[in-house]
Amino acid sequence: MNNILEVKELSTSFFTKFGEIKAVDKISFTLEEGEVIAIVGESGSGKSVASMSIMGLVDTGGKIVNGQILFNGKDVVGLKEKEMEKIRGSEISMIFQDPMTCLNPVFTIGSQMEESLKLHFKEMTKAQRHEKIINMLDMVGIANPEQRAKQYPHELSGGMRQRVMIAMSLLCNPKLLIADEPTTALDVTIQAQIIDLMRNIKEEFNTAIILITHDLGVVASIADKVMVMYCGEVVESAEVRKLYYESKHPYTWGLLKALPRLDMKDNELQPIPGSTPDLLLEHEGCNFFERCEYAMECCRKAKPPVFEAGEAHKVKCWRYHPDFKEDI
């Protein structure tokens, strides 16, 4: 299989008047064609900044300070904005929690989609463009696509706008789709429809997907592999079944135990104590130290490196040091 994306030791920081915020701190992962990787973690853990870094769209004040992003084998870090623009919207595209971030309220759905096609497929005729737009709206489950194409974003419901945004992001047959909390604002019934749609996209077009979410149920239903982020770092990454059934990091355990489950009555919820630390304060040890019930002396003193906890299973926790023994 081809690696479509290889991220190596990527770090993105924001430089504020209070100091440096390491929003993304040396994360690495690979993604194959047609594969879905989920990034999970609490708010502020760096999920959005990681994806915006890949898109080359880091907010002003922020900067990629380390690492490589190999897209189709080619490093896109430091690419000129002109070149990045070409890749964005054609080979990599992105959808957001709020569809209005990419829909322009003053143009109809159809004309916005047409603009995007004009930009990326100069040889297409008007009729071809029209056909493609209607097909795509139909594909994402929009009834009466001819009529919808003539409407403005505000005339559509939230779920429908989400579908339009997905249709727009798929127009140029991207190899990689980044979805940042695409269902967080939606009701569960609509969420189920959108997840179903994403599953179809992956199967039909072999699109690789980076799915950002905090919902471990959504992850279980669609992801092939998972990265758990905490304070800018990937603390655990594994194939999806391993992450749920053989998770290794105390933070991952914490996330799973804090969830109420419809399929299990009377599982006591065990909250993770405390809250995420301030990223402005430099920690000597593990970022999770203060909230971790398994913390040891070494956890306070030094940051854990990445340990291999099995095949393609990585964890940043001192418990997986080869010399660690359970009862010290």
């Binding site: 189920a192 149920g217 489950r261 993770i272």
Partner: protein
């Protein structure tokens, strides 16, 4: 079981003004809550679920008499409070409180935590100044904050801590009944569990009764003794939370349950999903008959013509659906 609150055929309609094409302004009604009846028992948690816009918040606010009901009755501790004016409501206000979704918006940014909590004690004239101060500290302790927090301002807290302040404020007046309107929706998963466990613990210790509103079915199922499901302003099913999960009757409940993804990859991938098509119709012109008929995989002509009544089909399990009309009849014959 003592009934603390009884809601009978409660209605809350909002008048909606709309520019007509030819004849100026037209008046429509939006039936946000339509003919809803249920009881809440002392010391229990009644959960309320349903998609956004189905009327959960409006129902909560109408029960609290923050809105004037359009019809029906609200009986609180045996007293009919439906028609009382704000002054007459005064003695009841102490017993009923509401906790909101956004703890930040509901806390005055210019007041310290201590002042915010004391504000709720205003009506308790029996308390001296020093007793009030002491009570603030007790309440902070109760919700897992400490005395240092008393002099701080809301912006100095994390989301979970703010919700704790909101809860402390609600408890200051010693209420018996609390409407929790999406109290955890804005919080991270790990923090949600902190707040929910706190609410459960306080209920046990103080004998509180909750109406717990949320769109997260798994959380509602976890915290509630019984759960009511709403759709387009109506209650479509009501049962114990265990019963509702094991044997949901209404096709909408079944669909809603099936749509919730569980954090278990094997189960998720084997699951036979029932995906409800389309979206919730407008509450201004809801479908005739059963409001769910436009999305229901089992709808018949009867469903399109006649609204089903909300009836007890098996003991303590209520449903509004024509599929169970036969069972309902048998009930009546017995």
């Amino acid at each position: 079981m003592n009934t603390i609150l009884s809601v009978k055929n409660l209605k809350k309609y909002f008048p909606i003004k709309r520019e007509g094409k030819f004849f100026g302004v037209k008046h429509d009604v939006l039936k946000a809550v339509d003919d809803v009846s249920f009881d809440i028992y002392e010391g229990e948690t009644l959960g309320l679920v349903g998609e956004s816009g189905c009327g959960k918040t409006t129902l909560g606010r109408t029960i609290m008499r923050l809105y004037d009901p359009t019809g029906g009755k609200i009986i609180f501790k045996g007293d009919d409070i439906t028609e009382l004016d704000q002054k007459q409501l005064h003695p009841y206000r102490k017993d009923m409180h509401m906790i909101f979704q956004d703890p930040y918006a509901s806390l005055n940014p210019r007041m310290t935590v201590s002042e915010i909590i004391m504000e709720s004690m205003i009506n308790d004239t029996a308390l001296s100044a020093s007793q009030r101060k002491e009570k603030v500290l007790e309440l902070l302790d109760l919700v897992g904050l400490n005395s240092d927090h008393a002099t701080r301002f809301p912006h100095e807290f994390s989301g979970g801590q703010r919700q704790r302040v909101g809860i402390a404020r609600s408890l200051a007046a010693n209420p018996k009944f609390i409407v929790c309107d999406e109290p955890i929706s804005a919080l991270d998963v790990s923090i949600q569990a902190q707040v929910v466990n706190l609410l459960k613990d306080l209920q046990k210790r103080l004998g509180l009764t909750y109406l717990f509103i949320a769109h997260d079915l798994s959380m509602v199922q976890y915290i509630s003794d019984r759960v009511g499901v709403m759709y387009l302003g109506r209650m479509v099913e009501l049962a114990s939370s265990e019963e509702l999960y094991k044997s949901p009757l209404h096709p909408y409940t079944t669909a809603l349950m099936s749509a919730v993804p569980v954090p278990d990859p094997d189960k998720e991938r084997q699951k036979r999903r029932i995906i409800v098509e389309g979206e919730v119709p407008s509450p201004i012109n809801p479908p005739s008959g059963c409001a769910f008929n436009t999305r229901c995989p089992r709808a018949t002509d009867k469903c399109r013509g006649v609204a089903p009544s909300f009836t007890e089909v098996t003991p303590n399990h209520f449903v509004a659906c024509h599929l169970f009309d036969n069972e309902k009849k048998e009930e009546k014959i017995q």
